[in-house]
């Protein structure tokens, strides 16, 4: 039978895998992990700054945060790509993903901080703890626990948005699949495999986070 008439050709499905798995490890996973790290740290800094900074500064920060959060990641990537030509695209991708998701995670932290019971604040006053110690020893540790599942969900979201890196001419997993499809005229296997790999990676993770959520919600 002619190659074109075969609906699904396992030879192509397997041939596209090495390129895709390589891109998965060196780009998709790499950007997700480092981007998440930046987002988690920067998000916490933003959340704390909004709570502790003087009102005008906190106001400006809130506006900038909302602006970043309510505008497309793709346009932000394009902006950075053409404005900062000196920075390597992959580094730029990690930074922009990190900053974009930091604005989401900051809101998660804020909700976590707000959920710390009033009694804890009063206790720190009763013990005449300093402001710094109140935050680092009492509030933040308790806030972090309940935020874990929501942060995890954003990591999965980021993972699924990594194909946007194509905008920076970075070859992520999906772009690798698309390139294979283009040169071999076999989009069926290439694109389907990309979808399957995403599903394999993200579905079990989201189930895990769902279980984590139940455990943490009932015990806090």
């Amino acid at each position: 039978m002619n190659d074109d008439q075969v609906i699904w050709n396992w030879d192509h499905a397997l041939a596209v895998l090495p390129d895709m798995l390589w891109a998965f490890l060196t780009v998709t996973l790499y950007v997700t992990l480092l981007g998440s790290l930046i987002a988690a740290v920067l998000g916490l800094i933003i959340a704390l700054a909004r709570k502790t900074a003087p009102r005008p500064i906190a106001g400006v920060l809130t506006f900038v945060m909302n602006f970043i959060r309510m505008t497309p990641l793709v346009v932000q990537l394009l902006f950075a790509y053409y404005a900062l030509t000196a920075v390597p695209p992959l580094t730029l991708g990690i930074l922009i993903f990190g900053i974009h998701y930091a604005t989401y995670m900051a809101e998660v932290y804020r909700a976590g901080i707000d959920a710390v019971p009033r009694g804890q604040w009063e206790a720190t006053t009763a013990l005449s703890m300093s402001r710094g110690r109140t935050w680092t020893a009492v509030i933040v540790p308790q806030a972090l626990r309940s935020t874990l599942p929501a942060l995890g969900n954003y990591v999965i979201s980021m993972f699924k948005e990594t194909p946007f890196l194509a905008v920076l001419t970075v070859t992520d997993m999906v772009r690798a699949a698309q390139e294979y499809g283009g040169t071999n005229f076999r989009f069926m296997e290439a694109i389907t495999m990309a979808g399957i790999l995403f599903l394999i990676a993200s579905y079990p993770t989201s189930l895990l986070i769902g279980r984590l959520e139940k455990r943490l919600v009932y015990t806090t």
Partner: protein, 241 residues
């Protein structure tokens, strides 16, 4: 700067065309997503294992694979055998956005219906309402008020998601910004673009907040719409992943 303004004036018709495409994608995508969300969200609550299994599979496939993968599938794979379906790019965009965000929305719909209080369900049994009456006259109106904040988040996500469709040859606002960049400069073109997206997102948020206020007021909760529209808040606690 004056050069930029002049270049923008020349390019304005194109930018407006792109904006129109972005708005079409957002509105049509959101409508499709809404229908998909309600349909799958109701179906996934059925006791029949086949219906429930079908809905669950569709939801997880569209949530679990990336939006861009879905757009590429519709754009590159669908025109090939065995499908042989060649869709216009704009339809590809609307379908991709609608199915992807519809699957996320289905979970919101399901969750909101499940969190309508038990007493309400029991009351419908006591009044011996039919299944349809129970859903449309008692449960859904209450679930509707609960689901709007999360749907607002998804709507903003969808608007932001439209920016990626230029990768499947749709000439949307982002595609026009990419052209505008050449005649003006990078900072001018993309800053303008970000501001336009932000304004659309802000207007959508205000509209959805008004919708929420109305839904709550009709349930006898909250203030009248007129009093509630004063200050829009951006709610971000809804789950987007």
């Amino acid at each position: 700067m004056t050069d930029n303004i002049e270049a923008l004036q020349r390019a304005l018709p194109h930018v407006l065309d792109g904006l129109l495409i972005t708005l079409q994608l957002t509105v049509a995508g959101a409508l499709l997503a809404f229908v998909v969300a309600i349909g799958l969200g109701l179906l996934v609550r059925f006791e029949n294992i086949l219906l429930r299994g079908f809905a669950r599979t569709v939801i997880e496939v569209f949530r679990g694979t990336s939006l861009l993968v879905q757009l590429f599938f519709l754009f590159f794979v669908l025109p090939l055998p065995p499908f042989n379906i060649e869709l216009p790019p704009l339809v590809v965009g609307i379908l991709g956005l609608g199915l992807n965000y519809g699957a996320y929305g289905a979970e919101v719909v399901r969750g909101s219906i499940n969190s309508v209080s038990r007493g309400q369900w029991e009351a419908t049994t006591a009044l011996s309402l039919t299944r349809t009456q129970r859903m449309w006259r008692v449960i859904f109106p209450q679930a509707w008020a609960l689901m709007i904040p999360s749907l607002t988040n998804l709507l903003i996500q969808l608007l932001k998601g439209t920016a990626v469709v230029y990768l499947v040859t749709i000439v949307d606002l982002t595609a026009e910004l990419n052209k505008l960049r050449i005649d003006t400069d990078v900072f001018f073109a993309y800053s303008l673009g970000l501001v336009i997206y932000f304004v659309i997102a802000y207007i959508l948020t205000i509209a959805m907040n008004a919708l929420e206020a109305r839904a709550k007021h009709r349930l006898g909760q909250g203030t009248r719409l007129r009093e509630a529209v004063a200050a829009p808040t951006v709610d971000t606690e809804g789950d987007v992943s």
